[in-house]
């Protein structure tokens, strides 16, 4: 009976109901849009930074991260790689043998980080090939090395020049080798650009006298936002006495902190947005009440109990808020999806600044079911709290005044 009345009221004045629904719906759309964009910017930043070198998840022998020496490397066996690949959420992985060394060209000597890599799978995980600015990419058997552009510049070396690498091999032996520069790589981060040297894994194992050994397995999760799940899975699959599994948050705490601070300021923005949204909904409710004063007065004068009327009004508001939220959800889905596929792109000076750091100045939205549900329920809660106002208003109604 009550619901029927409310239902009829809604249909009686279709435009008004539509407007109220629209104000709730637009609130949902705007809130999801804001959060999706904020999240998207962060995810994009993470993807950028992670693809520089670190990757989302790494597996090492226990203790390697704290003490990065060859003594903490491990024998890469088929059973380990099988275990890693079979772990849920892991898409692919690539091995590395990393070691600090001195790199000389003529008179000049600089410290560097040498990474022995599997060229093909490395490219799948960190898109190394796309960073090549001169020369050729590596193959499994090539005898050349790839050098960071900044490092090459400091050494005054170019493609084709011969470099001497001097390091400490496995079990403390001296590792020395001559390598030709096969290509130059450009990294956005100056720190990497001036430090990294790549060579095929087999060559590195030979140079460091560490056959079959690797220090690091870099893991690419199926879905970047599920890197935590992939890490947890690896943690279970691999023996914890032997291996440590690390996520990018642990390996690059400064980036994570930057994101956390930005989240703090975006919370303020979200707060301001909620304020605006609630006010928008409130204003429509207010207008509705003004418009229906006469009607309510009449009903009460005719003998309808205020409590009954209040319940009908409440039912109306709840119905409208619910449908509004639902509609908002349905509308926001394609918008957010579209903003993910066709991200906002910034040009001009800003783009150049971003490019210097190896970022593309694009801001795709994140498309996550959680965001939609969360924002819709927040707006729903706001709508329901605001629905109390008409109820109070009806309960306080003075029929005689209202009908005047």
């Amino acid at each position: 009976m009550l619901l029927t009345l409310a239902w009829r009221n809604i249909w009686r004045n279709r435009s008004r109901s539509l407007i109220t629904m629209a104000s709730v719906g637009s609130a949902v759309v705007l809130a999801t849009l804001t959060v999706s964009l904020q999240k998207g910017v962060f995810d994009n930043l993470i993807a950028n930074v992670v693809s520089f070198y670190t990757g989302y998840v790494q597996v090492h022998r226990v203790g390697y991260w704290k003490e990065q020496t060859l003594e903490n490397s491990f024998q890469l066996s088929d059973s380990i790689s099988k275990k890693v690949l079979e772990t849920h959420d892991v898409q692919y992985w690539t091995p590395r043998l990393e070691s600090f060394a001195l790199l000389s060209s003529g008179e000049k000597t600089k410290g560097c980080m040498v990474a022995g890599i599997a060229p093909e799978s490395e490219d799948m995980v960190t898109r190394l090939k796309s960073k090549l600015v001169a020369g050729d990419y590596l193959t499994d058997s090539s005898r050349q090395v790839l050098v960071g552009e900044g490092l090459a510049k400091r050494l005054g070396a170019g493609v084709g020049d011969t470099l001497v690498l001097l390091g400490q091999g496995y079990f403390g032996s001296t590792a020395a080798g001559k390598f030709a520069v096969g290509g130059l790589l450009h990294f956005g981060s100056p720190e990497l650009n001036e430090r990294l040297v790549f060579m095929p894994l087999a060559r590195a194992q030979e140079w460091l006298d560490a056959p079959g050994m690797v220090t690091t397995m870099v893991i690419s999760p199926v879905n970047p936002s599920e890197s935590g799940a992939a890490a947890a899975g690896l943690h279970l699959a691999l023996s914890q006495n032997e291996f440590e599994v690390m996520r990018w948050e642990e390996m690059m705490p400064d980036i994570e902190e930057h994101i956390r601070t930005d989240t703090a300021s975006s919370k303020i923005i979200l707060g301001v947005l909620y304020l605006l949204i609630s006010f928008g909904i409130f204003a429509t409710l207010l207008m509705m009440l003004i418009e229906r004063r006469r009607e309510f007065g009449m009903l009460v004068a005719l003998g309808m109990k205020k409590a009954q009327l209040a319940r009908v009004v409440l039912a109306e508001s709840v119905l409208l808020t619910l449908t509004g939220c639902l509609a908002g959800l349905l509308i926001s889905l394609p918008i957010v999806w579209w903003l993910r596929e066709r991200p906002i792109r910034i040009g001009g000076e800003t783009a150049k600044t971003f490019e210097k750091f190896g970022f593309e100045a694009v801001f795709p939205a994140a498309f996550e079911p959680n965001v939609f549900l969360e924002q819709a329920s927040i707006v729903l809660a706001v709508g329901l709290i605001l629905a109390i106002y008409p109820v109070v208003n009806v309960l306080r109604l003075k029929p005689v005044e209202a009908m005047r």
Partner: protein, 400 residues
């Protein structure tokens, strides 16, 4: 005229719309001021505590970091005091090398500074959190190390460390230094990679008593930057002289990303505002169906009805905008005294990216016009739809 009276006739409605305009303006201005506060805070830290306004190096030095690319102290000491707008300057000799003790070694940039000048240019003395800002007895070979590095290498004031680097003749030299103090600057990554010693000590090891690799200048005000830059370039054509923007590209990156996100969210806020106004105005038109129908029926021109409604919104926006701006100004004034402490949200992590944890919002006056224009424009645009709706009313039906 009629619009004005209408506004007063429906006070609640007018107030509701005005309030949303006020809120919209306030929100826009407030968000911009938070972003600008963040950006300005970052720049302020960069200039006053990190890179200063201007720096000079030998053109090759920043690429190769070799000691032979230096200039002399005497040259700068006779030139710089004449610079227009100069507040303070500091001369540094620098070397890249290793800091080692029993628990390991770390690559660092070694900065040789004059303690008094370094303090004058970036308030360095205050950043020393434990130990001393160089022992006043003038003992030789004292060193200041950042907190992060000190923790990593388990250093305390009094610890002994060894610095190893290449001298002017490319020979490897080492020196034993004693830790005088541990500093903490607002930019933690910089702290980890930089150590400070007296310039005389470093130069003695480098074998170049008069060498300066970096001259940094702090100006009395930002506006004079270009003039001073040009003056310095004319007087030292052989040196590479840069302002803080090119010295510290990461600050420029932070500024750009702040610019972009503030614009995106400003647009979203404006859309929210537009929806608020459209909805309220539409409700108003519905409510006034009878009234508008009557006006049409007694022969009022449709175009005038349209303008009547648009004018109403414009009037409301005209009142609402300034009120919102004043409210934003008051909020910002209040917050800029105390600062907006984000450490609660961010867990005191701001400074790891060179931000201070407290944001002092700044109302960007040059952008106020833009906010007013955008809010008023939004209000105007959003009034057109309801007005157009009103136009299409059929008088006969509307009065019923």
């Amino acid at each position: 005229m009629l619009s004005w009276r209408n506004l007063w006739r429906h006070r609640t409605r007018s107030l509701a719309i005005m309030a949303s305009v006020v809120l919209g303006t306030w929100a826009g201005a407030f968000i911009l001021s938070i972003y600008y506060g963040m950006a300005e805070g970052r720049v302020k830290i960069a200039i006053e505590q990190e890179v200063s306004h201007l720096q000079a190096h030998h053109p090759n030095f920043r690429d190769e970091f070799e000691a032979k690319w230096h200039f002399t102290q005497g040259r700068m000491d006779s030139l710089l005091p004449k610079m227009p707008g100069l507040k303070a300057y500091s001369l540094r000799s620098q070397a890249q090398g290793m800091l080692a003790n029993a628990s390991g070694s770390n690559g660092v940039q070694i900065n040789g500074v004059d303690p008094e000048r370094e303090d004058a240019i970036r308030g360095f003395r205050k950043m020393v959190k434990s130990g001393l800002y160089f022992d006043s007895t003038g003992k030789r070979n004292q060193i200041l190390v950042g907190k992060k590095l000190a923790d990593k290498m388990k250093l305390v004031p009094g610890s002994k460390v060894v610095l190893t680097f290449q001298d002017t003749g490319q020979e490897i030299v080492s020196g034993a230094f004693r830790l005088a103090g541990i500093f903490e600057s607002p930019n933690a990554p910089l702290d980890e990679g930089n150590v400070y010693v007296r310039r005389s000590d470093l130069n003695a090891l480098l074998g170049t008593p008069d060498a300066v690799m970096e001259a940094a200048v702090l100006l009395s005000r930002e506006e004079i930057l270009q003039e001073s830059l040009d003056w310095w370039r004319t007087n030292c054509p052989d040196l590479l002289i840069e302002d803080w923007r090119s010295i510290s590209p990461e600050v420029a990156l932070v500024m750009s990303s702040i610019d972009v996100s503030s614009m995106i969210f400003l647009v979203i806020i404006l859309i929210a505002l537009a929806f608020g106004i459209v909805n309220t105005m539409l409700m108003a038109v519905l409510e006034r169906t009878r009234e508008i129908g009557m006006l049409l029926a007694i022969g009022m021109n449709r175009l005038r009805v349209f303008w009547l409604i648009v004018m109403e919104t414009i009037l409301l926006a005209l009142i609402g905008c300034p009120v919102g701006l004043v409210a934003a100004w008051l909020t910002v004034e209040l917050l800029s005294k105390k600062g907006l402490d984000l450490s609660g949200f961010a867990g005191n992590m701001m400074k790891d990216f060179g931000f201070s944890a407290v944001i002092y919002p700044v109302l960007p006056f040059e952008k106020l016009g833009l906010i007013i224009l955008m809010t008023a424009g939004t209000a105007l645009l959003s009034s057109v739809f309801p007005a157009w709706k009103a136009l299409r009313l059929r008088p006969a039906e509307a009065i019923r």
